[in-house]
Every structure is written in structure tokens, then in C-alpha cells.
């Protein structure tokens, strides 16, 4: 391989040569001190270029953000203009006629709703009252049962005592003999 021209080295330096060409350049560099020295100098310069570092990009500046705000503001203005134009160009409404037309219907609907509400409320009250009455009746019945049971027990006890007393008197009467001192029992 003859000495490559300077421009022919550029693809080699940036790794853009094909495999066979690349090998040829490498071989030439091994054999040619002049080219080797020149290419080494270029490589050093290429590395030195990396010393120039740029500052990082600043965060989105106000100027960069401005277009978004401008678009948002433009949208708002268009919407508000549309509202104003719509209100201005809308046909006028005769409020009295509209009121007269819809009042009976509204009145009818309101009356129906009030009546329905009243019915619902009455039914709810009735069911609450019935439930309360049932509870009260049960309570009274329970109390009556207790009182009656107590009375029946008292009557039963008294009757039992009376019967025992009567039985004792009957025995005493059966043992009685005339002329006998009633205080002395029969022998």
C-alpha cells in the first residue's frame, strides 16, 4: 500500500472503513514511521477535542415555557369570546309566557310529589305506631299474667289452709262425745 492521502485516513480514524481496508491501514502504519507519527498526532488532537465540555442545558426557561402559556391564554380568550358571542346572539326569551306555559305542569308535578310524600310519611307513621302498640300490648299482657298468677297462688294457698283447718275441725268433731269436757280428749 502506498502512502494514503490525508483524507483517506479520516474514515479509518473514525472507524468507518471496511475490514480489509482497515487491515491495510494498520499494516501500513506498522511499516511506515512517517504516517504512524502523523496519525498518532491526529489521534492526540482528536482526544484533546474532548476537553471542550459544554455546560449542561439549563432547565426549561421562562422563554421556553412561554409558548405553552401563550397557547393556553389564546384558548381561554377564544372560549370566552365564544361565550360572549353566543350570549349576545342568542334569541330573547319571553319569560312571562314561558312561566305561564310551564307553571300548571310544574304545579301538578309538585302537588303529586307532595301527595306521594304525605302518603309515604303516613304509612311510615302507621307502621311505627302499630309496632309500638304491639310492644305495649305484650308488656301489659305479661304484667297481667304475673299479677293473676300471684293471685291464683294466694287463693290456692288460702284454700289449702282452709281445707286443712276444716279437716282438723272435722276430726275434732268426730271425736266429740256429749257430756265430755270438750277440753278432755276421748280415751
Amino acid at each position: 500500500m502506498n502512502h494514503p492521502k490525508p483524507e483517506e485516513w479520516v474514515p479509518y480514524l473514525y472507524g468507518e472503513t471496511t475490514g480489509s481496508m482497515r487491515q491495510e491501514f494498520k499494516t501500513h502504519l506498522q511499516d511506515c514511521p512517517a504516517c504512524r507519527q502523523e496519525i498518532e498526532t491526529w489521534k492526540r488532537s482528536m482526544h484533546q477535542l474532548d476537553r471542550w465540555k459544554l455546560p449542561r442545558a439549563a432547565r426549561m426557561s421562562a422563554e421556553t415555557r412561554m409558548p405553552f402559556f401563550r397557547w393556553a391564554a389564546a384558548t381561554m380568550i377564544v372560549l370566552m369570546a365564544g361565550m360572549v358571542i353566543g350570549r349576545a346572539t342568542a334569541p330573547k326569551v319571553d319569560a312571562e309566557r314561558l312561566k305561564a306555559a310551564i307553571a300548571p305542569e310544574i304545579h301538578r308535578q309538585v302537588s303529586a310529589e307532595v301527595a306521594q310524600l304525605a302518603r309515604d310519611e303516613a304509612a311510615r307513621e302507621a307502621s311505627l305506631t302499630l309496632a309500638s302498640g304491639r310492644r305495649y300490648t305484650d308488656q301489659i299482657a305479661q304484667q297481667l299474667y304475673v299479677v293473676l298468677k300471684k293471685d291464683v297462688d294466694t287463693v290456692a294457698l288460702n284454700a289449702d289452709a282452709g281445707l286443712r283447718h276444716t279437716a282438723a275441725q272435722l276430726f275434732q268433731l268426730a271425736d266429740y262425745h256429749p257430756g265430755q269436757d270438750p277440753g278432755v280428749p276421748n280415751q
Binding site: K5, P6, E7, E8, W9, V10, P11, Y12, L13, Y14, G15, E16, T41, W42, K43, R44, S45, M46, H47, Q48, L49, D50, R51, W52, K53, L54, P55, R56, A57, A58, E63, T64, W71
Partner: protein, 203 residues
């Protein structure tokens, strides 16, 4: 881009801006050597892109269309700066205060940061001393990692011309950098947010 062209779709345009704003900012900053003007030109590029959306031909690459717009704006700005310098006989682009915009590694020690600043400034000046046609090739190939064929497409020149411009740029850069940076260790490669690894460079 064709949706932007056909329907003026602002959502898609916003996504385009989001995707490309950083590469375009870097290109403009490297071409002008000034981060502030680079940021301004980045915004101008997207304004121009929206204005010229109807000229976009879907058969071509969108990125080529965008790089061209950005580069043309850079050339216009460089011409304006040149006229201004000639008028005021001053050299605005090499003002020392712009060196403060360098961004060395934040984890390095203060003395290393100072050294990085100095070396970065040397490289920046060397790149800015290149004529525009060479600088554009260096920025697109070395910093933005575009293939040589793509650069030819963007610049609308033959690929051989791209190679010869790159070779000439390397000769000039070596001439400018070797005496100043010789013997210093090689820096870590630039982080390239385009997600194109730099392994293509022969080490």
C-alpha cells in the same frame, strides 16, 4: 415532521423540539463558541423550522433538514459577528469571560477543575480558529457523531470533500493544540446525549 407539515400539529412539533433541542444547542454553541448565543440560535432554529415546515420533503431525512437550518443560522450569525468585529476592530468571540462557561467535572478537585477550564479553553479557541467549513465538519463528526456520509448529505457536498475538510481540520488542530497540550493525559470522552457511543474512534 410530516404531521407538523400537513396538520400543523403542535403536539408533534413539541415532541420534535424536545427530541432535538439538545443536539441543536450543542451544534450552535460549538459553532459559535458561546453558550448564550448557542441557546438563542437553538430557539431560532426551531422557529425557522416551524416557518419552513411546508418546505420539508418527507423523502429526505428530517434530521438533515434540521441540521441544515441550524448550520445556516450559525453561518449567518458568524458573518454578522465578523462584520461587527471588522466594524469595531475587536474580537468578541475570543473574550476571556466566555471561558467561564466551561463545565468541567464537578467531582474533580479545584486544581483539576482549573486545569480543565484552561485546557478546555485552549481547545475551544483552537476550534473557533478553524474556518467555518472545517469547523462544521469537526463539530458534526467529532462532537455530534454523525457519519461522514451523513455529513456530506447535510452539507450537500461529496463525501470525499468531507474527508479532506476533516483531514485539513485535524492538521490545523494538531498544529494549534500540540504545542500547548502535549504531554498532558488524554481527557475522558464527552458524554454524548444522542446515545451514540464513541467507540467508532480508533484508539
Amino acid at each position: 415532521m410530516w404531521r407538523v407539515k400537513l396538520y400543523d400539529d403542535h403536539g408533534d412539533f413539541d415532541r420534535l423540539v424536545h427530541r432535538w433541542q439538545e443536539p441543536i444547542r450543542r451544534l450552535c454553541t460549538r459553532m459559535l463558541g458561546d453558550p448564550h448565543r448557542g441557546e438563542d440560535l437553538k430557539q431560532d432554529t426551531f422557529v425557522r423550522l416551524f416557518e419552513k415546515r411546508k418546505d420539508y420533503q418527507p423523502k429526505g431525512r428530517f434530521s438533515t433538514f434540521l441540521w441544515r437550518i441550524a448550520l445556516n443560522l450559525c453561518y449567518d450569525e458568524l458573518r454578522r459577528q465578523k462584520r461587527r468585529r471588522e466594524f469595531f476592530s475587536t474580537n468578541d468571540s475570543d473574550s476571556p469571560d466566555e471561558a467561564s462557561e466551561e463545565a468541567p467535572s464537578e467531582t474533580s478537585r479545584p486544581d483539576e477543575r482549573a486545569a480543565d477550564l484552561e485546557e478546555g479553553e485552549i481547545v475551544r479557541r483552537a476550534v473557533l480558529q478553524l474556518p467555518e467549513i472545517y469547523r462544521a465538519v469537526v463539530v458534526l463528526r467529532h462532537y455530534e457523531d454523525l457519519k461522514l456520509a451523513r455529513i456530506a448529505e447535510v452539507l450537500e457536498i461529496p463525501e470525499g470533500t468531507v474527508n479532506s475538510r476533516m483531514a485539513e481540520a485535524l492538521v490545523r488542530l494538531s498544529r494549534a493544540l500540540e504545542p500547548k497540550l502535549k504531554g498532558k493525559p488524554a481527557p475522558t470522552p464527552c458524554v454524548n446525549p444522542v446515545n451514540m457511543p464513541r467507540e467508532s474512534i480508533v484508539l
